[in-house]
């Protein structure tokens, strides 16, 4: 079987090293700018790249439009999580949160606005921050990660107001239940915990792996992804992807997906999920698989839907994971093109 061999370019040491870096790059997080025209992506080398979605989606897009507008070294360790406010991009990696101004980032050589580290218990190893969550009503940020705690930080003053303890192993993901307001967190210990922000106490615990329908012991018990729709919650990871009714804590629908899912989100009347395996999966609420759209990375770690009202022409779904590419889906049915670091 003959494979098409690409022409071997004479490669010096620098080119080989760069090529190897790109091959082993993982993009962990994405975030859309408040104007909706730019996408930030953070990778495992601690770099953040800003892509111009409006340039890449326009009719005169060339190959250079699919490259980042600017790339800079943001953290020393991997950038596991990013989130955007009206004017800032907040990125978190090895134990610290940094804030960047969106308008400043497009210029070269920008510096972070501020950098905060939540108070950790241990000093032997700096725990990573896996998830960031914005709580607009309080104007605060919730961080969670390697030290098994949820920290709340007030965005105006920068002080850490609350610490929520309860998880026995590190936390993977967070979700906000707006009505209450409550925060859901899923972790390596296999439990989804609900916390009331006003009383700072755990209100409900769902131990997913204890339910026989959804547990999959050979994958482990870890909860990798969470999404909530006030009354409903969908979570996945080691156990199967399941839709839960929160008040009764019962699993209502189990989605038949073998590979562990790393990101899940509600979209209109569908549930989109991605994880190990090339495809972005679209599920009906009844549990049927509506579509499986393949991407370009062998495994996906994050999905981002650009629903900013200011840029309706950039309304796309972007998926990134175990490669240096971000797939852009203009229509949920197929992959339009890929942006690349």
């Amino acid at each position: 079987m003959e494979r098409a061999v690409p022409l071997a370019v004479p490669l010096g040491q620098a080119e080989v090293f760069q090529a190897l870096q790109r091959l082993h790059m993982t993009i962990f997080s994405q975030s859309v700018s408040p104007c909706g025209k730019f996408l930030a992506a953070g990778n495992n080398y601690g770099q953040i790249a800003i892509f111009s979605l409006s340039a890449a989606l326009s009719s005169e897009a060339k190959e250079e439009s699919k490259k980042p507008v600017v790339t800079f070294q943001a953290h020393d360790g991997p950038v596991y999580s990013m989130v955007s406010t009206d004017r800032h991009l907040l990125s978190a990696g090895d134990g610290e949160v940094k804030a960047w101004l969106w308008v400043e980032m497009l210029k070269k050589g920008c510096k972070e606005l501020w950098c905060r580290q939540p108070p950790y218990r241990t000093s032997l190893e700096v725990p990573e921050i896996n998830a960031l969550l914005l709580v607009p009503k309080e104007n605060s940020l919730i961080l969670a990660g390697g030290d098994c705690q949820l920290h709340t930080m007030d965005l105006e003053t920068g002080t850490f107001t609350r610490v929520l303890r309860g998880h026995t192993d590190y936390i993977h993901c967070l979700a906000l239940r707006e009505r209450s307001p409550e925060v859901l967190s899923g972790g390596e210990d296999g439990a989804v915990r609900l916390w009331d922000l006003r009383t700072a106490k755990e209100v409900q615990t769902i131990e997913v792996y204890k339910h026989e329908e959804c547990s999959r012991p050979h994958n482990g018990r870890w909860i990798g992804c969470l999404a909530t729709d006030s009354d409903w919650m969908v979570c996945g990871g080691g156990p199967a992807l399941t839709l839960w009714h929160l008040r009764s804590s019962t699993p209502t629908t189990i989605f038949p997906m073998r590979a562990p899912q790393k990101h899940v989100t509600f979209y209109q009347d569908l549930i989109l999920s991605a994880g190990q395996g090339r495809c972005v999966n679209q599920w009906q609420l009844s549990g049927e698989l509506k579509a499986q759209v393949p991407g370009s990375s062998p495994g996906l770690l994050s999905l981002s839907l650009n629903q900013q009202p200011a840029a309706p022409e950039c309304k796309v779904l972007t998926a990134a994971g175990n490669s240096c590419r971000v797939d852009v889906f203009t229509n949920l049915g197929y992959r339009a093109f890929s942006l690349s670091f």
């Binding site: 004479p10 080989v16 091959l23 360790g77 032997l124 896996n130 770690l301």
Partner: protein
């Protein structure tokens, strides 16, 4: 009738008067003037209009008379005849009138014609006169223009300007008083001056010619003197040889080499000069020598007279050989190919000695028709090497110098003009002939000062010393590093084939004390086989698996777990790291496409290679990478989370000290080893 006859007689009378005997002509002429009845004169007096009326009236009368006669005739009777006779006489009179009128008409006509003719004659005469005058005018005008256009030869001569003339010319020529006013005189004076000047210059020219002749003769004499000097100097040199030897100054030997060097083609000469200079200045371990036959080199450049003699001889030979069979087309083409690929009989040999007494022998050749240089390499070591099976290609003369600079694989000719030459004789590519001719690497061309721009084919041989000099040092250093790294690999391969990863003591700190996984197999793999492997697709797609690389397969085992590692060794090792791709067979097949941790392991070895380089010149990179691979496999197997549903203990109990087993959204295992604390953590 009487009237008729009187009428008749009238003219007759006059006429007969007009015709007297000839003797009395003179007198009668004058008389005639008075008596002569001139009808012409009468005609002048009569009015033509009235004559016309008369004519009409006469015709009418005639008609009337005729009508009356007819009446009378038809009536008949006696006195009719008299009446008719009367009328007849009247008709006759009328006829006479008509006749006269006719005559008058004729006369008038004739007069008119005569007058016209006269006038016409006059006009013609004037016309002729006009023509004559015009012709003369034209002629005169032509003459005038000719005169005006006349250029005298003197105007073609460039005369000096007026001011100069007055300044320079001596007064007896310039005669200012006369010439200022009179342009004619002025021009004459100027011409005179011109003539003077020309005469003077002609004299000077003759003088100079004779000078030149003299000087040429002097030069001839001096040349002869110098040529007689040369044999005497030679004899002095011969005499001084024993003195040189006594004083240990082998000028003669160097001199002999320079002598032979004179016969080298320009690129080899540049290489020789630069290499000798570099050897003397920077690197005492470099030695340069010239090999080959000087006579053959001299024979390449025959003087033209000899070739003419040869032609006449060869003509004679050709006549004989036409009777023999002509060689076949294939043999002819073969001969042409051999001719095109012919090497210059002289070659330059460079010997590079390395620290461990191994020597790299380089022989440089020059292909005359293709205008490129090639090199053949050989490595000899102080002690005899036992070549392990997998190390076969490491030191082979064909590939030891491949890709010294990135991309310089030496299989294609660097001179773009050669392609056209190859097409003529049917050579597809030079790579078929590199084994016998040597490799035409780009750095070889640069050492010989040959510069090939990419666009235009080169016609003339420009051997540039500055190009050679700037590359000499870098290339020599690269050559030495290359030989040493290859020899180091050679030794390491011998050990790897026996399943031992040779880690030197100064690299031990990179790894924990106890490593359980073992290297079981180390073999070479062909390029095509590497490309067929299912877990190497990413490397192939990224263009990192070219055909100039060497490929190997390593197998690491622990218990039931088998880890296959496909290795790409770039000829630029160790500045360019080897690239590993892994495939683990344990509880299913795991590669970087379905297991994030395998991807992390590859990253540890490929991307973080700089930690594993060890002390310069980092010959330990490959072995350190292999040892790290074993450590990574240990960590992977021991930190695998236990599946509660399956009975039995874990196959690999955890022995490594780890702070945390999983970290981050992709749940990475702790692959980073911390020294000297000895625990594993995450990057």
């Amino acid at each position: 009738m009487s009237s008729e006859s009187s009428k008749k007689r009238k003219p007759k009378v006059i006429r007969s008067d007009g015709a007297p005997p000839e003797g009395k002509r003179n007198r009668s002429d004058t008389e005639q003037e008075g008596k002569y009845y001139s009808e012409e004169a009468e005609m002048d007096l009569r009015d033509p209009g009235r004559d016309y009326e008369l004519y009409k009236y006469t015709c009418q009368e005639l008609q009337r008379l005729m009508a009356e006669i007819q009446d009378l005739k038809s009536r008949g009777g006696k006195d009719v005849a008299i009446e008719i006779e009367e009328r007849r006489i009247q008709s006759c009179v009328h006829f006479m009138t008509l006749k006269k009128l006719n005559r008058l008409a004729h006369i008038r006509l004739k007069k008119g014609r005569d007058q016209t003719h006269e006038a016409k004659q006059k006009v013609d005469a004037y016309h002729l006169q006009l023509q004559n005058l015009l012709y003369e005018v034209m002629h005169l005008q032509k003459e005038i223009t000719k005169c005006l256009e006349f250029k005298s030869k003197h105007e073609e001569i460039d005369l000096v300007s007026l001011e100069e003339f007055y300044e320079e010319a001596p007064p007896d020529i310039s005669k200012a008083e006369v010439t200022m006013g009179d342009p004619h005189q002025q021009t004459l004076a100027r011409l005179d001056w011109e003539l003077e000047q020309r005469k003077r210059l002609a004299e000077k020219y003759c003088e100079c010619l004779s000078n030149k002749e003299k000087i040429l003769k002097e030069i001839e004499v001096k040349k002869e003197y110098l040529s007689s000097l040369q044999p005497r100097l030679n004899s002095i040199m011969q005499a001084s040889l024993p003195v040189q030897e006594y004083l240990f100054m082998p000028f003669d030997q160097a001199h002999k080499q320079y002598e032979t060097a004179r016969h080298l083609p320009p690129p080899l000469y540049v290489l020789f000069v630069q290499a000798t200079a570099y050897g003397q200045a920077c690197d005492k371990t470099l030695s340069v020598a010239i090999e080959g036959s000087v006579d053959e080199a001299k024979a390449l450049f025959k003087p033209p007279e000899d070739s003419q003699d040869d032609e006449s001889d060869s003509d004679a030979e050709e006549e004989q050989t036409t009777k023999r069979r002509r060689p076949t087309l294939g043999v002819q083409l073969d001969d042409k190919r051999k001719e095109m690929l012919k090497r210059h009989p002289l070659s330059v040999m460079l010997d590079l000695k390395c620290k461990d007494d191994s020597v790299l022998h380089l022989t440089f050749f020059y292909l005359m028709n293709l205008n490129i240089m090639t090199v053949k390499a050989k490595v000899t070591t102080a002690t005899e090497l036992i070549t392990p099976i997998s190390a076969g290609d490491l030191l082979s003369p064909d590939s030891v110098l491949s890709c010294l600079y990135p991309g310089d694989h030496g299989k294609k000719t660097p001179n773009p003009a050669n392609q056209y030459q190859f097409d003529k004789v049917g050579i597809l590519t030079l790579s078929d002939y590199v084994l016998e001719l040597g490799h035409p690497y780009l750095w070889v061309q640069k050492l010989g000062g040959l510069h090939f721009p990419k666009e235009q084919p080169q016609q003339t041989v420009i051997a540039d010393h500055s190009l050679s000099a700037s590359h000499m040092e870098t290339t020599m250093k690269l050559l030495k590093t290359r030989v040493q790294s290859r020899l180091a690999l050679h030794k390491q391969f011998a050990s790897l084939e026996h399943g031992i990863v040779p880690v030197t003591s100064d690299c031990q700190y990179l790894f924990p004390a106890k490593v359980v996984s073992r290297l079981v197999k180390w073999v070479t793999v062909a390029h095509e086989d590497y490309m067929e492997l299912h877990f190497t697709k990413d490397i192939v797609d990224a263009g990192l698996a070219g055909d100039t690389n060497l490929y190997y397969m390593a197998l690491v085992e622990r218990g039931t777990a088998k880890l296959q590692a496909a290795v790409v060794l770039n000829p630029g090792y160790s500045s360019i790291p080897p690239i590993f791709q892994l495939c683990l067979n344990w509880k299913g097949e795991k590669t970087n496409s379905n297991d994030d941790n395998i991807r992390a392991m590859e990253s540890e070895v490929n991307v973080c290679y700089k930690e594993l380089c060890g002390p310069w010149p980092s010959h330990q990179l490959l072995t350190n990478q292999l040892q790290r691979l074993c450590v990574l496999l240990d960590v992977y197997l021991e930190t695998e989370s236990h599946d509660d549903s399956v009975e039995g203990p874990k196959e690999f109990p955890q022995e490594k000290m780890c702070l945390r087993l999983f970290r981050g959204p992709s749940r990475m295992k702790p692959f980073k080893y911390n020294h000297p604390q000895g625990f594993f953590s995450h990057r």
